[in-house]
């Protein structure tokens, strides 16, 4: 249960940064945090108490596998999610770098030209 709570908290903390922080880097960090939280949540959803990792490297795991390993699918999904998170962060950082190079500031208040 603590896994759920902490991962949801992580998501909320990330979102808090996105909602409140005025520095672009902090917002990006918030997004990353949020991703992490989500990943943790997914992983903890796949967890089954008292089971081992879904790697069948011993013979005894070969039989009656489903009662011995945790759910492998969330883990597979998380793998994808992580990579996507990395990709988004990379693109975000590149955009932030460009933004910084144009205006020499990272204050989000300076980036409000498009409105109404």
């Amino acid at each position: 249960m603590a896994f759920f709570v902490s991962s949801i908290l992580l998501i909320l903390i990330g979102l808090y940064a996105v909602l409140v922080k005025r520095n672009i880097m902090k917002i990006v960090i918030g997004l990353s945090l949020m991703d992490t939280g989500v990943n943790l949540l997914i992983i903890s959803l796949g967890f089954i108490r008292g089971r081992t990792a879904p790697i069948i490297n011993t013979r005894d795991l070969l039989v009656n596998t489903s009662s011995k390993v945790v759910d492998p699918l969330p883990q597979a999904l998380v793998l994808t999610a992580i990579v996507i998170g990395v990709a988004v962060t990379a693109v975000a950082l590149s955009i932030v770098m460009l933004m910084y190079s144009k205006k020499k500031t990272l204050e989000i208040d300076e980036y409000k030209e498009l409105k109404w």
């Binding site: 996105v18 991703d35 949540l41 693109v91 030209e113």
Partner: protein, 1047 residues
């Protein structure tokens, strides 16, 4: 059949390949890029064709890795997916071509990869049958979009990209969480599998929340209000090509997947969610765009609005209570809307790419820059605003009819949004067509041209779809004629040829429609239209005029759509032709000097037409037949459109400038015939709706007042008008007010008066406007104080105008009197005496402007600059003579028209024939009085000639003197200008009636417009441009969705 995986795989492979090639031979990347897109497009198109032709029966299921659905990922490509794929790649191809011609930003291979993968992601979103896979494709699309949006590296683009990224991350987080929770809840990721489980009765207490989480994420991507600030920023800030692709293609994929998800997850509250958010977004966005000064952002608002409409349609589809026939209608509407919006919006954004600035004022004069631009722009604006004959129009028609089964408020919402759309799009159009100077525009116009040609090409398809669903049939002959009219455009190199072709076409039309010329209401109006159009067309002889090449096509479209209008047997058909007529005439008016007038005309026409459509949607049967116990609202809604066209007070504000500043060659048709279509429509409303109204008499009385007040106020305004054509415009509107009054009487005599006046008004007002056209052509101005004394230069035109004015004033020996006599007799018979008083007074006031027309133009002093003016061109003179004859002949023999009218009214069983007798001595005898037209004519002519002869025999020596030989207190006048009394002729009278001519209606309408604009302005402020705020909106709205709809 092409395996969809080929599309995805080959595109991916190409993308990787481009990455390699870029490193070595950057120039060669195009050789991979374009063929890939072409392949994708062709492959999707082949699949679509397979589905449409029926050779592919059921959806293509691609099992990746060979695993059956719940286990492996699968692609599921049905008809919708194939169509969407085709659309996406078509738009992508257009965008790619456009961008390629303009030059990709360097390094171009990279941008090609992004572009390709954006299209691929959108296609993947629509193809995939697996939720997690959907998330992956959403991410592909998003990241490609981030890159592409930022690709211009302008500050605005970066800002927009960053906002999109923040919001997009949150939304994809929602989607991801939802998908994973969904897996946890249902144990599956496959859409079909989950859908099957849920349909099979699977339920979980949090399933609703989970689904809403996914839908909220998708709604963010679907740019619903108010979480669409980022989208607007993208539309404004990003490269137009990218925007074209995003708005034209990518978003549509999100829409499809939204629909699929919602239908798989099938919660009863989804349709409400969609209706509320779709409707809200639609209305609010269309409304917020009113005061937008940035062209791209304006287009953005429009896109958002269109998406809202799509979501609303989706809501209808999701609704469990929608009958099957309506479902088919909505489906067709959705298809057409997507098609329409994708192509028109890509076209518009690609056009925007060719215009230097972003502000609306930077667009000034672009229409005159190149015909291709004009064509594409007009086509796109027309179709995006949902005007006939483009798919958007049929979509709206279908949607409204389907929504009517659901709730009238929904219809009202759709129509209100559509109206708001017309308001700002035509404000745009008006600003764009302003300015004489040619604006600098790029010449990268092929892609928008192709997009707009697509739209044109989609017209038959759209028509067919709508016709199938609505069981709508339009008279085939008229459609052929409309098509042929458009072909006249191809003769654009020579106006003379176009003119001849138009004459031929009208003759052919008359031949084709000859069987319909029966003695009934349609036949009556049809005869008026055909004969009138032929005569008036003659007067448009191009000569050395500077006519637009689309003048004649539009003219013919107006003529034939009017023919179709009067031949309609269903309200749909009536509405369709009405709209075609309205918008073709809008184009014609816009060709004149008054662009703003055209805009106001467009807005009011649209308002009227949409009101009419709303009314039609409430009718139980689409056939034009008696409606059982209608409500007064229905009657009012139905007649509103017609009242607008008749410019009834207080809907008259468009008329002055639209008439006065439309091309001189079109105004006769506009006044003489087109305004009569309002009469025809009102007649139908009276005959089939009002007649069964329980409050019929008060309704009629109200309309009677409307008619007579129109006559009164317009006459009064005409008195003080200083522009010939505007004066005639007011006069024309006033006369139509009399006609409305006659109709509203709803007695045989009143209708006789109305129909008589309809014909007669065509004769004299057509003549006057034709003469005005000739005068303006010769003199070069329609400003009255600059004329005067033209009787010396154009005696024939003077004579014609004199008789026309006498007829207009309704003075006895000529034909105009009959209408007045019938009308007053009918009024007094009916006992509408207060109305009769006002009508009488109005017609007295008509003498004032009648004199003004004749004096200020023809009499008084000939001005110096007009000394060399010649008589009007021969075709105009011929038309004047042709129109002159009936004025005199009918003056003596009114029965020539009264008898046919009696026969027509004989067919209208609801009314019966008028109680008129004809005797030799008393002439026409009504219950009240009598009037011997022939005697008056003979007496007047005889007495006049006798007096003339007597005078000539007995008079002193008469010397014809010079024009300035006047008794001038012994002085010698210096110039004709000093002597001519042409300006402010009724200033003394104006002092008496100042309080009556206060422009109340204009002020009120402008006030409403400004107030709404101000509200829109305030409302738009919720898009603060602040990233945090946008993120807060997203979260807040998502929470709201969760809170409200979880149950």
């Amino acid at each position: 059949m092409v395996n969809p995986i080929l599309i995805i795989g080959i595109t991916l492979g190409s993308a990787f390949l481009i990455g390699i090639v870029q490193a070595f031979r950057p120039r060669w990347t195009g050789w991979i890029f374009y063929p890939t897109l072409v392949f994708d497009f062709l492959a999707s198109a082949v699949n679509l064709y397979g589905f449409l032709s029926g050779s592919i029966g059921k959806p293509i299921m691609v099992k990746i890795g060979g695993f059956p659905p719940p286990v492996g990922i699968n692609l599921l490509v049905g008809k919708a997916e194939a169509a969407l794929g085709t659309l996406i790649f078509a738009v992508a191809l257009l965008g790619a071509y456009h961008w390629g011609r303009r030059g990709f930003p360097q390094p171009q291979g990279k941008i090609m990869v992004l572009f390709l993968l954006l299209a691929l992601g959108a296609a993947g979103i629509s193809f995939t049958g697996d939720f997690f896979n959907l998330f992956v494709f959403v991410e592909i699309t998003s990241i490609a979009s981030y890159g592409l949006v930022a690709s211009s590296r302008r500050e605005e683009a970066l800002e927009a990209a960053f906002k999109y990224m923040v919001v997009g991350s949150i939304s994809s987080t929602f989607i991801l969480l939802g998908v994973v929770f969904l897996y946890k809840a249902t144990g599956s990721l496959n859409m079909l599998d989950i859908g099957g489980k849920i349909a099979g009765g699977f339920s979980s207490q949090v399933l609703g929340l989970i689904s809403l989480l996914i839908l909220a994420g998708l709604l963010v991507e679907l740019e619903v209000f108010p979480i669409n600030g980022w989208a607007l920023d993208i539309y404004q800030g990003a490269d137009p090509v990218v925007v074209a692709l995003l708005a034209g293609a990518a978003v549509k994929a999100f829409y499809l997947v939204y629909l699929k998800t919602a239908s798989y997850l099938a919660l009863p509250s989804f349709f409400k969610l969609s209706l509320i958010f779709g409707g809200g977004t639609y209305l609010v966005s269309q409304f917020f765009a009113w005061r937008q000064e940035n062209a791209r952002r304006l287009l953005g608002y429009s896109s958002v609005g269109q998406l809202g409409l799509l979501i609303l349609a989706g809501g209808l589809l999701l609704s469990p209570s929608l009958p099957a026939s309506s479902r088919a209608m909505v489906l067709a509407a959705v298809v057409l809307l997507i098609l329409n919006h994708s192509f028109s919006k890509s076209s518009l954004f690609l056009l925007a790419d060719n215009v230097k600035g972003e502000k609306l004022e930077d667009w000034k004069g672009v229409l005159s820059s190149s015909p291709v631009f004009r064509f594409s722009f007009t086509t796109s604006v027309f179709s995006v605003a949902g005007l006939p004959p483009f798919p958007g129009f049929w979509a709206k028609l279908l949607l409204v009819m389907a929504a009517a089964r659901f709730s009238p408020w929904l219809v009202a919402l759709i129509l209100a949004g559509a109206l708001a759309e017309v308001v700002y799009y035509f404000r745009f159009f008006y600003l764009v067509s302003l300015g004489d100077k040619k604006a600098e525009v790029g010449n990268n116009l092929l892609a928008p041209l192709v997009a707009s040609l697509f739209l044109v090409g989609a017209v038959p398809l759209a028509y067919k779809m709508a016709a199938d669903k609505l069981s709508l049939t339009l008279p085939g002959g008229v459609l052929v004629l409309l098509g042929l009219s458009l072909l006249v455009y191809l003769l654009g190199f020579s106006r003379l040829l176009q003119w001849l072709a138009s004459l031929g076409l009208v003759a052919y039309g008359a031949y084709l429609l000859l069987p319909f010329l029966k003695a009934d209401l349609s036949g009556f109006f049809l005869g008026l239209i055909l004969a009138g159009a032929a005569v008036l067309l003659l007067a448009t002889y191009p000569g050395a005029k500077n006519l637009s090449s689309s003048f004649y096509p539009a003219y013919l479209v107006v003529v034939f759509s009017m023919a179709g209008l009067v031949l309609s047997t269903t309200w749909f058909s009536l509405f369709v032709f009405w709209e075609i007529m309205s918008w073709a005439s809008f184009l014609l008016i816009n060709m004149g000097r008054g662009k703003k007038a055209a805009w106001i005309y467009a807005v009011l026409s649209a308002a009227g037409a949409y009101a009419m459509l709303g009314g039609i949607s409430l009718l139980p049967s689409p056939y034009i037949s008696s409606v059982k116990s209608p409500g007064p609202w229905l009657a009012l809604l139905l007649s509103l459109g017609f009242l607008v066209k008749m410019a009834t007070v207080p809907l008259h504000i468009w008329a002055r400038d639209a008439y006065g500043e439309s091309p001189d060659d079109f105004t006769p048709l506009l006044s003489g015939i087109m305004s009569k279509m309002g009469v025809f429509g009102s007649a139908l409303v009276f005959l089939y709706v009002v007649i069964n109204l329980s409050s019929r008499s008060s309704f009629n009385y109200l309309l009677g007042w409307a008619g007579v007040l129109t006559a009164f106020f317009m006459t009064l305004l005409a008195v003080f008008q200083e522009d010939l054509k505007k004066l005639l415009a007011y006069s024309s509107v006033a006369q139509v007010g009399y006609i409305l009054l006659g109709l509203a009487l709803f007695t045989p005599l009143g209708w006789t008066a109305a129909l008589y006046h309809t014909v007669n008004h065509f004769f004299f007002k057509g003549l006057l406007f034709v003469a005005a056209a000739g005068i303006v052509y010769r003199v070069g101005t329609s400003y009255l104080p600059h004329m005067g004394g033209l009787i010396r230069r154009m005696p024939l035109t003077f004579f014609a105008s004199l008789l026309a004015v006498i007829a207009l004033a309704g003075v006895p020996p000529l034909s105009g009197f009959a209408g007045k006599w019938l009308l007053y007799t009918a009024l007094i018979e009916k006992g509408w005496i207060f109305i009769a008083v006002v009508a009488f007074l109005a017609s007295t006031l008509a003498f004032l402007y009648s004199f003004k027309i004749l004096h200020a133009v023809f009499l008084g002093q000939l001005q110096e600059e007009n000394c060399e003016v010649r008589e009007v061109p021969i075709p105009v003179a011929v038309v004047e003579i042709i129109l002159l004859i009936p004025l005199v002949v009918l003056g003596a023999f009114p029965r020539l028209i009264l008898d046919p009218i009696t026969r027509v009214l004989g067919k209208v069983t609801a009314l019966g024939i008028p109680d008129l007798k004809y005797t030799k001595t008393l002439g026409v005898v009504s219950r009240l009085g009598h009037w011997n037209a022939l005697f008056l004519m003979v007496f007047f002519a005889g007495a006049f000639i006798l007096a003339l002869i007597f005078f000539a025999l007995t008079s002193a020596r008469v010397k014809l003197v010079g024009q300035m030989d006047v008794g001038y207190s012994g002085e010698v006048p210096r110039s004709p200008e000093d002597l001519h009394f042409g300006y402010g002729m009724y200033d003394h009278f104006r002092r008496a009636v100042k309080w009556l001519i206060y422009p109340l209606a204009t002020r009120v309408w402008r006030g409403i417009y400004e107030a709404l604009g101000a509200v829109a302005e305030m409302g738009r402020r919720i898009y603060t441009g602040d990233t945090n705020t946008y993120a807060a909106y997203v979260i807040g709205i998502s929470l709201l969705i969760l809170l409200i709809f979880k149950g």
